[in-house]
């Protein structure tokens, strides 16, 4: 009962927010409203990406730098569903009001994107998570690039021209729900027996195995869940920008997500979310010298590593800790 109420409250809250945002930013009096709305959307999508990568990198301790690959798979698969199967589906939903029909289409497309990203996560994770440290990083980096080049060469999704004509189904309501889903999923996992198993793998793989933790299976599970949420982020992204290009999914994007979680504090959920928001907003503030963005990133990272190596919210606020008195 309490859970149903909670879900209803979240849905209602997001709906209300969406209504307010539409009224004030999109159709309303605020100058540059749509621009702020876009930043908000991108921040939400980045939060989903950072929080999901944190499950693999921060909590399970498996250094993956291919998150943009799963992001791309989710974006392109979901967009393809909308573009190619959308018209047919739309016909069968003709009776519904347009926002409901859009929502159903977004859910169908997102489900496909999430499933594809999760499947890719499983395929990549099964062999590569037996590797450790640097090797895993190299394999995941390679995977991300392979995906990008592959998409670049598929004409049906636009190839190098980019994928156009994607309907704009996603809005703050859905992104907000995605953020809530990602955060609560990761949070619930960390604060459970499975989460402790993942943390033990990060802490000491050999000891974890000796304590009966099926190390590879748990790593793959965490990796697949992380990939699935990256796929969701991709789907929401594509259905917001209405245009996809592989340039959005280079390894630079993967590093961006890593920087978000490093900035927030590896393993800290609130940190990952904060890092994502900060790194979405900061470049906007520095719009005037956008070409120095990477320089600012590098500087910020170096400064954090020197003055706060555990990240902004690392340690102390670590999940699963501080509760036991």
């Amino acid at each position: 009962m309490k859970k149903i109420l909670l879900v209803l409250a979240v849905l209602g809250g997001m709906g209300l927010l969406q209504w307010a945002l539409t009224a004030f930013l999109l159709d309303g009096p605020v100058r540059q409203g749509p621009y702020y709305y876009q930043i908000l959307m991108l921040a939400g999508i980045n939060v989903i990406l950072a929080v999901s990568l944190n499950l693999t990198n921060g909590i399970t301790g498996q250094f993956s730098i291919g998150h943009a690959g799963f992001f791309a798979i989710g974006a392109y698969v979901a967009a393809s569903v909308s573009v190619y199967a959308g018209p047919t589906l739309q016909g069968s939903l003709a009776g519904l009001p347009s926002f409901a029909a859009d929502s159903v289409l977004l859910l169908v497309a997102s489900a496909a994107g999430v499933a594809a990203a999760a499947a890719a996560g499983w395929l990549v994770g099964m062999p590569s998570l037996r590797l450790r440290g640097d090797y895993l990083a190299i394999v995941t980096l390679g995977f991300g690039e392979i995906i990008r080049v592959l998409i670049l060469n598929i004409d049906a999704v636009g190839g190098a021209r980019g994928f156009t004509g994607i309907p704009r189904y996603s809005n703050f309501f859905w992104v907000g729900l995605g953020v809530v889903a990602a955060i609560s999923t990761v949070r619930h996992i960390v604060r459970s027996s499975h989460g402790r198993a993942l943390l033990s793998i990060r802490e000491d793989e050999i000891a974890a195995q000796a304590m009966g933790v099926a190390v590879t299976r748990h790593k793959v599970t965490a990796f697949v869940i992380g990939a699935a949420f990256a796929g969701l982020a991709g789907s929401l992204f594509g259905h917001f920008t209405m245009y996809l290009h592989t340039n959005s999914f280079t390894f630079v994007k993967s590093f961006e997500i890593i920087i978000m979680i490093a900035l927030g504090g590896l393993g800290s959920l609130a940190g990952a979310a904060l890092g994502a928001v900060v790194l979405t907003v900061l470049p906007e503030l520095f719009r005037g010298f956008a070409e120095y963005r990477m320089v600012i990133y590098a500087l910020a990272l170096i400064l954090i590593m020197i003055y706060r190596p555990q990240g902004l919210l690392g340690k102390g606020r670590f999940l699963g800790r501080g509760k036991d008195k």
Partner: protein, 254 residues
């Protein structure tokens, strides 16, 4: 009484070196069994074979009725063997309580799914894990430190936490890898009491690899001696102490 652990003609080679050569012995249920030998005798290799770090080249390892030779470490733990590490391997940045709880994972039944949706089964399982872990900490006199980060514990406490964590997997056989290493005489005295207490309270069988002769002779009921990968003697502490082969292995012959 049938043996709990049977090592049968176990051999393991590393390239040209035979680290463990045709070793056989068996440990009875409830026994405090010691494995000793000079440096390079093959004790650690044997330990690693029993815990699944290495697979044997020849021979068998039988726990109760089932053969466990060559299984991966987590499957061996599932079968009822738990271990501690010579060079302490705690989950350093987790709390003391979470170290023990993490080791309960294998025997807990709630699924990832029920954890996600916080079902009743999940809460019941978590409560069970919590009270079981706290009881283990109490038994090892670590209960006041439950929220402390494992890395911050003093050395002796860390060793005890390793034992608590191993017990959380609910083993039949506990393997202690040089538990007295780095301990002062008083601490090793306490360790000996603890080992006896563990056996009695948990009805455990304990296999001990140890360099500290005082501890081995003081606590073990039966001792197996290895040298250069081979078995050279087995018997009670008194028998082993007087065995000329053992004396020769440790002190060198004429």
């Amino acid at each position: 009484m049938t043996a709990l652990l049977r090592i049968e003609n176990l051999t393991r080679r590393f390239g040209g070196l035979t680290a463990v050569k045709n070793v056989s012995f068996s440990v009875k249920p409830g026994q405090l069994f010691g494995l000793i030998g000079p440096n390079g005798a093959g004790k650690t290799t044997l330990f690693n074979l029993v815990t699944g770090v290495y697979a044997p080249d020849e021979g068998a390892i039988v726990l109760g009725e089932s053969s466990i030779g060559g299984l991966p470490p987590h499957r061996i733990t599932e079968n009822g063997i738990a271990r501690t590490f010579q060079n302490i391997r705690l989950f350093a940045s987790l709390s003391v309580l979470d170290n023990v709880k993490a080791a309960c994972h294998m025997r807990q039944s709630s699924s990832l799914f029920s954890g996600l949706f916080r079902t009743r089964a999940f809460h019941a399982a978590e409560e069970g894990i919590d009270s079981f872990s706290r009881r283990l900490l109490e038994l090892l006199h670590l209960d006041g430190l439950a929220a402390e980060e494992a890395a911050n514990l003093p050395y002796g406490h860390q060793r005890r936490l390793e034992i608590a964590r191993a017990l959380a997997t609910q083993p039949r056989l506990l393997l202690l890898d040089e538990p007295a290493a780095g301990m002062n005489p008083q601490e090793s005295q306490e360790l000996m009491h603890l080992i006896r207490r563990l056996r009695d309270e948990f009805h455990l069988t304990i296999l001990l690899v140890e360099h500290n002769m005082k501890v081995v002779m003081g606590v073990c009921e039966r001792i197996h001696v290895m040298d250069h990968g081979e078995s050279i003697a087995e018997g009670s502490p008194e028998q082993v102490r007087r065995d000329p082969k053992v004396i020769e292995a440790y002190l060198g012959g004429e």
